[in-house]
Amino acid sequence: MSFLSKLLFKSKAQDIVDDKSGSALIKEDELKRSVDEVLGRSLFVRLVDSGSCNACENELAALSNPYYDLERFGIKFVASPKHADVLMITGCVTRNMLNPLLKTYENIPSPKFVITVGDCPETGGPFKDSYSVCGPVSKYLTVAMHIKGCPPEPEAIILGFLKFMDMIKISHKVSFGS
């Protein structure tokens, strides 16, 4: 089958980086090492869209395409909040989504962290003056990190994870003195 022979198993990973300088993905080994070290080889993420324009979701979904393949670092988007370590939030927190968002947070076992993706959850974005928006997220939950951008590119999200790992490492050292 020509389709198979031509396209299949062609490794895409080497052409991830367009410009060689300063790319987050050059540090990909570092990300994997961090995940291995700090979180016992797994970081499980639960996503809640609280009122985005769907661009952030597209970029998060793109993280699992063959170019980025986030799961090779041990980072996985999971179906249930009960399995998650991190609550990832996109969108401006609409009135109607506030309750489901908080319930999802409650159902994540401790220790848990909140990471926001995009400008909307941090500031409310262009919708902040609406009658139907009651964000930003920081009004309700303690946010460990904001990944900025509208929407942030997949590379920026990976860089965000890397920074998050650094943060955990530092707090780890402080609390356990290791």
């Binding site: 089958m1 020509s2 389709f3 198979l4 031509k6 396209l7 299949l8 895409k12 367009d18 996503l47 809640v48 869209d49 609280s50 009122g51 985005s52 324009c53 769907n54 661009a55 952030c56 979701e57 597209n58 970029e59 998060l60 979904a61 793109a62 699992s64 395409n65 063959p66 170019y67 988007f77 179906a79 249930s80 909040p81 969108g91 401006c92 609409t94 009135r95 109607n96 989504m97 506030l98 309750n99 489901p100 999802t104 974005g125 262009p126 919708f127 003056d129 609406s130 009658y131 139907s132 928006v133 009651c134 509208c150 929407p151 590119e153």
Partner: protein, 501 residues
Amino acid sequence: MDKILINKNIVELNDFLSLVNNLKETGKYLLGIVASDERKFDSKFNIKYFFGGNGIIDEYLVKVDEKFQSISKICPAAKMYEREIHDLFGLVPDGHPDLRALMLYPENWDFSVQPLKKDYDNLVPKVKEYGKYKFKEVSGEGIFEVLVGPVHAGIIEPGHFRFSLAGEPVLQLEIRHFWKHRGIEKVCEGKDFNEVMNLVIKISGDNNVNIAISYLQAVESILNIELTERAKYIRMIYAEIERIWNYVRDVAWIFMDIGFALPAQNLFSLQEELMRLNKSLTGQRFLFNSLTVGGVNFDIDSLKIKAIAETIERVEKVMKECEAFILNSSTVLDRLEFTGKINKKTAEELSLCGISARASGLPRDTRIEFPYLIYGKFDLKPVLFESGDVFARTALRIKEIYVSKKIIGDLLFNLPEGDIIVAYENKPEAYKYAVGNSETARGNAFFYVMADDKGKIFRLKYIDPSFRIWPSIQYGVLGNIIADFPLINKSLNLSYSGNDM
């Protein structure tokens, strides 16, 4: 500029029902209902009904106080629009079968406050429970319910689905949406046309170019702006690139959902290549901010022409291989054929548009019905399928990628010289309004824009293709097994954010 032909009428409340009946018989279909609070002129609310078909848009204006005649019984497509007007304006559609709250949830909103009335004071009621939402009930021996959402298992937007099942087949599906209701229409009021662009592109991010084209068509018709030929060509190129990457992603997800990862992952790679092409063209992977009032923000030079031509050539090659691969696999056909069938009659009654209409045999494509930009110069024929199932919608997307590729090829080859943006005077006639129309990857995007006396927006109404198409899933899933629902949903791939606004 190609103006949309509008046939304007004012009708009395009493004879509207029989009129709608006549309209339907002549092949007209509902494009949208727009309410607006114009009490400051004649102490009445205006409700405008737009009907499309036969290349002309018919507009019917009804002036109402607090009640208006519901047309849902003879025109089921009107049901959601009337509920929406009931929510946001507090007007009561007389004889409507289902007046539960749509976007202002009784769980957190005081229904005596209606935000789109002009005398709304911008105060929001306290977040507390004001009432309960009643779901439909199906009863009988052995019938059980499966509740899904609003927070779903995957990386998708929120929406609540409630299945009533007897064994595996679905007896009834009830969808509750508007979790993401952001109140965009209200936020737009009082802002100027260029400022609103930033909100318009965030209605539904993955269709932003085509939605913006519709908005700009309305605005430029209010401001009497005549675009340069080059700007029209470039807008169309961006619009078709967006359509292609949307279709590639949609087809990829259909294969992901039937567990056929090989073509799916190859198509995801292809999508990534297209996103990177977008970035090289405009610096933005979603082509955000590529259009502006009076033209486009980014020109296309010879290098970019080469990059676009090469990428779409590759898209066609991969799609062709993919198509052959799919059509030769009996396991794929087994999942796609006869699944999620939406009958032609249902499609007609619900005034469907876009992929869903064409897959059910309705020749509805805004690019052909109401040609805009320079689509009129292309001899486009609607790509049609009759079966209305998942297979039809998948195959239709693949075929339309080839059409879009041809359009882009022609545009690149004939790209005229000239400016990409024209200067304009920002002084529209007071209270002038216009409509805009365009074909997104999901279907017809309809804008109604009215200026006020200061050149700002008095009323903006956007009707997303997803808003029209969502109810059709409730018919498409009937009799299918529940395990096929994700596939049916993906085959329509509707937007939640565009629907919820």
